[in-house]
């Protein structure tokens, strides 16, 4: 199992990068991550969900823990 999780993160990161690059050069035929976020944020519920995810991301990276459920 040594390194499998890390390798998985690398693969997932590269896959996201490839999907983003394909989206950028597809002329609108394939969505970028920005398109996905815009689509999610078209509804009020989706918008708040994405914003809460943004807060969670900052908390996760910079605070790393501290509040229950965070």
């Amino acid at each position: 199992m040594n390194g499998v999780i890390l390798a998985g993160w690398v693969v997932l990161g590269l896959a996201m990068l490839v999907a983003e690059v394909v989206g950028l050069f597809s002329g609108g035929r394939f969505p970028t991550l920005g398109d996905v976020l815009s689509f999610l944020m078209r509804s009020r519920v989706g918008r708040w969900f994405v914003l809460i995810c943004w807060v969670w991301l900052g908390w996760h990276v910079f605070v790393r823990s501290g509040l229950p459920g965070f």
């Binding site: 999780i5 896959a15 969505p31 708040w48 990276v61 910079f62 790393r64 501290g66 509040l67």
Partner: protein, 156 residues
Amino acid sequence: MAEVRAPAVVQGRRPAPVRVATVVAVLVYAWLVTDFQAFTWPIRIATALPAVVLLVLASRDRRVRVPLRAWFGSWRLTTTDPRLPLWRRVMWRPGTVVWTLLIVAISAWEVLARLHTPRSLYPTLSSLSDAATRLHALRFLAFLLWLQFGRDLLRR
């Protein structure tokens, strides 16, 4: 239908001196904040502050949003032709499939890593980011990126 516009503060249309002062203030704030240690109250408060500001600005955004039911309807993941078998009624859009799979895979990988220890063998996103942001300058850049990402989200 009336044109939908984000509030001026969200659009960033402010006089140049105000813009420069804002940028400098954000840079100084990000530099000071990223000097705090993780797991401490100063970093909690300093991270919560821009989050609260963004959420307040978001709550002031009165742009019309699509109702949830209509939004789900806009997915159009299936056709309604009852003559087709179920698997052929699904519209396998590459973008939807790829991004859904990626988001699910990342979530699953994060949960899998969280359920195991030690963290050195089972890194989570936060432990990876911790390793990547050991240097203050990199942590500072990451904080700026996070703020910029939030600003970008406000405009959507």
